[in-house]
């Protein structure tokens, strides 16, 4: 009798409460997911999520892509470089992810050149923000890259963005204020850093030793990938603040590597790394600000024109 009442109570709970609630929630999640993905995530040209979606799911046959990290995202103004340029720079994108994006780009039937921003941390193992990957986990290469960071709930509509909605909302808002400038994937902060604050950053940078490093496996794989195409590849070093090089212990080794890349038949290295920009051109010691990005992009554009692009 008591067991029967428990069973009937549970049946009532499951059929009259749990199931209808779950159905309504599922429906709302599907709706919310579609709304957020279509009207927020994929409306943010400067977000990593949109860039990955664009690279993997869209075709732009005449486009010249710029691949790289946040230094790419914030230093390359596409309209000053080439009228067909698009900035695919995503924070914390280094060798492994760049290889995936480059491989996807090379699989397309295109002949346009490719610009790859080169950092002296290029061969570090960084992952970045999961928010860039979540809407694109249907791509096997990106899913594999996510590896053990992939969670089962990333398959659930709306729930998959749990904890990272902020990132999409903030980018959406940031692109729509006049405090920033965004253009074809590039995102540039207009605010200038106060001289005293920048001086403190530079001092901290000088006291933060760094070094160029590469493993033979990375060297081999990267060279093979670059050589696998006839498309021209420009490996570009965007400007660093001078304090960065004071802390970089083996710059000649890094530059020797760049020279080696330059010797590849389809690769041209354009090293603007030590361009002596004033402090007000920088956002910090490794990233240009709006003014610096404009100046650098025009120089890069001129360099491409001189090479027939």
């Amino acid at each position: 009798m008591e067991t029967n009442s428990s069973i009937s109570s549970f049946k009532r709970f499951a059929l009259r409460f749990l199931l209808p609630t779950a159905i309504v929630l599922a429906g709302l999640c599907v709706l919310a997911d579609w709304l957020v993905t279509e009207f927020v995530v994929f409306q943010n040209e400067s977000s990593g999520a949109y860039k990955m979606h664009r690279l993997f799911d869209e075709q732009h046959p005449d486009e010249i892509p710029v691949l790289g990290s946040s230094r790419a995202a914030g230093s390359y103004m596409p309209e000053h470089i080439h009228y067909q340029c698009f900035n695919y720079g995503i924070e914390k994108t280094q060798y492994r992810l760049t290889s995936i994006l480059l491989a996807e780009e090379l699989a397309k039937d295109k002949t346009t050149p490719i610009i790859i921003n080169f950092d002296y941390e290029f061969f570090r193992e960084w992952f970045g923000n999961m928010a860039h990957f979540i809407p694109n986990l249907d791509q096997p290469a990106l899913r594999a890259f996510a590896g053990e960071r992939h969670r089962a709930f990333y398959e659930l509509p709306a729930v998959r963005y749990y904890g990272v909605y902020d990132d999409y909302y903030k980018t959406w808002l940031a692109e729509r204020t006049d405090k920033n400038y965004s253009s074809r994937g590039g995102f540039f902060l207009k605010a200038e850093v106060a001289p005293a604050a920048f001086a403190a950053m530079a001092k901290k940078r000088r006291n933060t030793p760094a070094g160029w490093d590469i493993s033979p496996q990375q060297d081999s794989a990267w060279t093979e990938l670059l050589s696998s195409t006839a498309r021209p590849i420009f490996v570009v070093v965007a400007p660093y603040h001078s304090s960065y090089f004071e802390a970089l212990r083996n710059l000649p080794v890094g530059q020797a590597y760049l020279a080696k890349l330059d010797s590849l038949p389809n690769v041209t290295v354009l090293d603007f790394g030590q361009t002596n920009y004033p402090d007000d051109h920088f956002m910090n010691t490794t990233h240009l600000g709006y003014t610096g990005a404009a100046a650098f992009s025009m120089e890069l554009g001129t360099a491409l024109k001189q090479r027939g692009y």
Binding site: E2, S5, S6, T21, A158, G163, Y165, K170
Partner: protein, 472 residues
């Protein structure tokens, strides 16, 4: 295992299902196994501490039952108390005292360095040791009989919904429930899920959001202006309330689904009209524990006045120390003790002042002022609770009192961005809106509440840190 984890979302329904399927005589074993698994999923080796505490208190309880007089029970009571307090001292307070001894030695020019322990603080240690001590004390005082069933007693010590952060249950409430044959109840399940959902809202939408701003300010108080530190402190008052009461709600909701009633731990404390009332609404299980096992045995208020004030101060200083082995927690507790003493000393003057201002003729205004004053006092004390150390706490207070308001967005957002600040204010507003709901959460349309709140959790929730009270 955290409540806000995917593992718990699988663990809890599985335990519920097995619980109601199993015959009643085996349910205690399932819950015990589940509770041990719950705890061991954090660090398996620390289960031995709980098992040790369980064994000692089980033994002492049975032995005390055999003794006819309190005098003969006393050695077992001491064994129980010393064992539990010994565990607590070793893991939680030893390093604090070792550091203070070193400082004293240094001040006296004595070359001495105390050895320190590099052990992790076992999760929930402050809660389950207090829970078992209350069991032993209640047996000693003839309030309850000892539990003879070791398994059920072990379950009382480790019942997973309330193991790591309370509510600190009394044996008289919880033990008899483990012997009841619980049936699955539609009403319990609906109310339990409602309570759990509300708890998650408080934790992941409100507390974890506000933590972003609070952490930014309190990690660098010297870099903030008056407006920022005041806002951060206010946010922390809301954060800690939502974090802790959220956990309690989830614990109570989970227990209710299984058929168990845990005590309510929070009753909208920031609506209290006095500090005395605040402590009847905040962390009720702990405040009643200290009332029954510290304040009243000291004599409570049935003593001469100076002794009464002394009892209050001691109780709250110890309560502060319970929260953490830092001077800031002791000061926080001491402040609340001082508030209560001041309220007693100034009662006549305050009443006379209120009468003179005609406040008694406007009861709502009188109530509002009392609530605001109580909130202000509580929020001020939170500065010490949250600050990383005493100098930081004093910096926060100094900055707040400087009245140096930098009217810039950068200062006000404390580097966390205007978006985060706006959402922080929004979620505090949502919390306020939730106060329009019946306090007991017995809703006319629970399904609507659960659906709406779940969507708010999905869209605004954050992946935050552990619950604050886990560190106690």
């Amino acid at each position: 295992m955290l409540f806000n984890s995917a593992e718990f979302l699988i663990f809890f329904p599985a335990v519920c299902l097995l619980y109601f399927v199993l015959p009643h005589r085996w349910r205690w074993a399932l819950l015990l196994a589940a509770s041990y698994y719950f705890y061991m999923s954090w660090r398996w080796e620390y289960i031995f501490i709980i098992v040790f505490s369980t064994g000692i208190d089980y033994f002492c309880g049975l032995q005390m039952m055999k003794q006819p007089t309190k005098k003969r029970r006393k050695p077992y009571l001491w064994l129980s108390l010393l064992s539990n307090l010994g565990i607590l001292f070793t893991f939680k307070y030893y390093n604090f005292f070792a550091t203070e001894v070193d400082k004293l030695a240094e001040a006296l020019n004595i070359a001495y360095a105390s050895p320190t322990l590099q052990w992790l603080l076992p999760m929930g240690i402050s809660f389950y040791t207090f829970q078992t001590m209350s069991y032993s004390i209640d047996i000693y005082n003839d309030r309850i009989k000892a539990e003879k069933h070791l398994g059920i007693f072990a379950l009382f010590v480790t019942f997973f919904p309330q193991l790591v952060a309370g509510p600190i249950e009394r044996a008289s409430n919880l033990l008899p429930q483990f012997r009841k044959h619980m049936h699955f109840s539609y009403e319990n399940a609906v109310w339990g899920i409602t309570k759990i959902t509300y708890g998650f809202f408080k934790k992941v939408v409100v507390a974890d959001r506000l933590a972003v701003y609070v952490d930014a300010v309190y990690s660098n108080p010297a870099g903030a202006d008056s407006g920022t530190v005041i806002l951060a402190t206010f946010f922390f008052a809301v954060q800690i309330y939502c974090d802790f009461s959220g956990y309690s709600d989830i614990a109570i909701g989970c227990a209710k689904i299984l058929g168990f009633d845990l005590m309510e731990n929070f009753r909208r404390p920031y609506l209290a009209k006095s500090i005395s009332e605040f402590w009847k609404r905040w962390h009720i299980s702990l405040s009643t524990w200290f009332r029954d096992y510290c304040y009243i045995p000291l004599g409570g208020n049935r003593v001469v006045k100076w002794r009464w004030y002394y009892n209050l101060m001691i109780t709250f200083l110890v309560s502060g120390f319970w929260h953490g082995a830092e001077w800031t927690f002791i000061i926080w507790g001491g402040l609340h003790g001082a508030y209560l003493v001041a309220a007693i000393l100034l009662e006549k003057q305050v009443n006379a002042g209120a009468r003179a201002l005609g406040l008694y003729k406007i009861p709502k205004l009188n109530t509002l002022l009392n609530v605001l004053l109580t909130c202000g006092l509580a929020v001020f004390a939170w500065i010490f609770f949250r600050a990383n150390n005493l100098p930081d706490a004093l910096t926060i207070i100094q900055t707040a009192l400087d009245f140096n308001f930098q009217l810039s967005l950068g200062a006000l957002t404390a580097g966390t961005g205007s978006f985060n600040l706006v959402i922080s204010v929004l979620v505090v507003g949502l919390l306020g809106l939730s106060y329009l709901l019946p306090y007991h959460l017995k809703l006319k349309y629970p399904r609507t509440f659960i659906v709406v709140t779940t969507m708010v959790i999905v869209l605004l929730g954050r992946n935050g840190d552990e619950f604050i009270y886990f560190q106690f």
